[in-house]
């Protein structure tokens, strides 16, 4: 279970209090009725699904009830930071991301097949 820092409550709380809200920083097009089907697909359905750093929304549904954003590594599940909704996407390009070498995965423990 994750421990998640709510930037509004300024406290680390258990994942049970939170609801995941999908990818962050996806802006709904202002001219939604005019965009093409391709543009709508891109906005509504297509996702990076990154292995590594992801920016995502969380809602502290059993706490303050507010949405906020977080940066997390999808290999180690470690949070890099969380920040309030509306704040710009932080530049974390210098952050080292976890790899299978730095995380204890099943493969690392069991070794590769010979």
């Amino acid at each position: 279970m994750l421990l998640i820092y709510c930037p509004y409550c300024e406290e680390e709380r258990s994942e049970l209090e939170f609801r995941h809200g999908g990818d962050a920083h996806i802006a709904r097009p202002a001219n939604i009725a005019d965009i093409t089907d391709e543009e709508f697909q891109d906005y509504f359905f297509l996702r990076d699904n990154p292995k590594g750093l992801i920016f995502e929304r969380w809602r502290h549904i059993h706490g303050c009830g507010r949405f906020f954003n977080a940066a997390r590594d999808t290999v180690s599940d470690k949070f890099v930071m969380s920040y309030k909704a509306g704040e710009p996407k932080p530049n974390l390009s210098g952050e080292p991301t976890a790899t299978e070498k730095t995380v204890e995965t099943y493969e690392a423990v069991e070794g590769i097949a010979k």
Partner: protein
């Protein structure tokens, strides 16, 4: 390939079991292939087998980062059923179920397909209406599925608690008798052996690191940890890692990868005759031939490639199991693991061409890919060989997210896939 038979067992018994040969060969990769399949799970190996068997394309390599059966093929709860709601889903899962029925004979490999029945428990009026709708839709489509009263359900699964005081009271159940289980890693091994016998190269411990494309945009091969390997066609079937592989060819997919967990108990004497699923309280359970209870839990809510998953997910499932089957309360759990599933927004798979020439994708099987293995592999081979989908998979194309022709099993099934 030496065929497996009772005579082979007798012959080897006489010779001290020294004549058994390796089930598949592990060759060094050639310089180029007609088709490279990325991902050596059931779907990928099966596609290679059907390419060789039905389409005469044998210059094929299956490239696998780890070992066969080490990914989701060996991490699922082995449930097989075809009682889906929509025509597109019924088409492919029923096609698959029919192939399951003859798979052991076809491959000359015992995949231990066991049509012991899959029962879905109904706990409230909404469940009842929803499942009866499924039953009717299935029967109209020629797929077996029947409605049971609580007592009939109890007669089929004697350990079920149907008392009125139960925490999760049962007001009926849907039963697909042809559904059941199979041995999951035997499926990977059986397909690998049969494909290898027909000339397919199964290349393990070889990670795909890039997809190379020519000046016209068409794929020309893959960069791997064993160097560059050329290919006329590339077919990607890498389950949880499909987004990662397809990003190498600049194709973005409507997928998110999340861990799905399962666990098994200590082995016990036969007690549990079929598969029981409860969508409302989220639990599914069967007993393997070894005697272990095989229990499937839910997915985590967030994207992850960690192959673990949160403890609260499995405790939630075990809470439900203990309420439904009070006699399992003192059973010890032996192992727990997670697999990374790739989920689409409508919870139906994607199998089709991509915007990149000669690049095909088989993805989005989410939490229910095992049951689809033979059917998906069979239709994927057709797609790769002909360049266009088989009519049974015609609805599963990638462009449905542009056209809006979604197959919304997410709304139809609520949770279990």
């Amino acid at each position: 390939m030496r065929k497996y038979s009772v005579f082979a067992v007798a012959r080897e018994a006489m010779r001290g079991h020294k004549g058994w040969e390796a089930q598949w060969t592990s060759p060094e990769p050639r310089k180029d292939y007609d088709v490279i399949i990325v991902g050596g799970g059931g779907h990928g190996l099966g596609a290679a087998y059907y390419l060789a068997k039905e389409h005469g394309i044998t210059n094929v390599a299956v490239i696998e980062k780890g070992w066969l059966g080490g990914g989701n093929t060996g991490r699922n709860t082995t449930i097989i059923r075809s009682n889906y709601l929509y025509d597109e889903s019924m088409d492919i899962y029923e096609h698959s179920l029919k192939l399951w029925e003859g798979l052991s004979q076809d491959l000359n490999y015992n995949v231990m397909y066991s049509p012991r029945g899959v029962m879905m428990l109904s706990h409230n009026v909404h469940d009842k209406q929803s499942f009866q709708r499924h039953v009717h839709a299935n029967r109209l489509y020629g797929i077996d599925n029947e409605w049971l009263t609580p007592q009939q359900a109890k007669d089929f699964v004697p350990v079920l608690d149907i008392s009125a005081s139960a925490r999760y009271p049962i007001n009926g159940a849907a039963l697909q008798r042809r559904g059941g289980t199979a041995r999951h890693d035997a499926v990977a091994w059986g397909y690998a052996r049969a494909a290898s016998d027909r000339g397919v190269h199964v290349i393990q411990n070889c990670e795909v690191k890039g997809i190379r494309r020519g000046p016209d945009g068409a794929v020309t091969g893959v960069e791997t940890s064993k160097g560059f390997i050329g290919a006329k066609k590339i077919a990607v079937s890498a389950s949880g890692h499909n987004s990662v592989i397809m990003a190498m060819a600049d194709v973005k997919l409507p997928l998110h990868s999340v861990p799905l967990q399962a666990l098994v108990s200590e082995p016990m004497k036969p007690i549990f005759p079929c598969v029981v699923m409860s969508n409302s309280v989220h639990a599914y359970i069967s007993q393997s031939d070894k005697g272990e209870l095989v229990i499937g839990a839910g997915t985590d809510q967030y994207n992850s490639y960690s192959q673990t998953g949160g403890l609260q997910i499995i405790t939630h499932t075990l809470d439900a199991i203990c309420e439904l089957f009070p006699m399992f309360r003192r059973v010890k759990m032996m192992r727990q693991w997670g697999g990374i599933t790739d989920n689409t927004p409508d919870r139906s798979a994607i199998q089709g061409v991509t915007p990149v020439k000669n690049l095909f994708v088989n993805c989005g099987w989410g939490t229910g890919g095992f049951k689809a293995t033979p059917g998906s592999a069979h239709l994927f081979a057709h797609l790769i060989a002909r360049g266009e989908p088989h009519k049974l998979a015609a609805g599963l194309t990638l462009d449905r997210f542009r056209t809006g022709r979604l197959i919304d099993e997410a709304a139809a099934a609520a949770v279990a896939h």
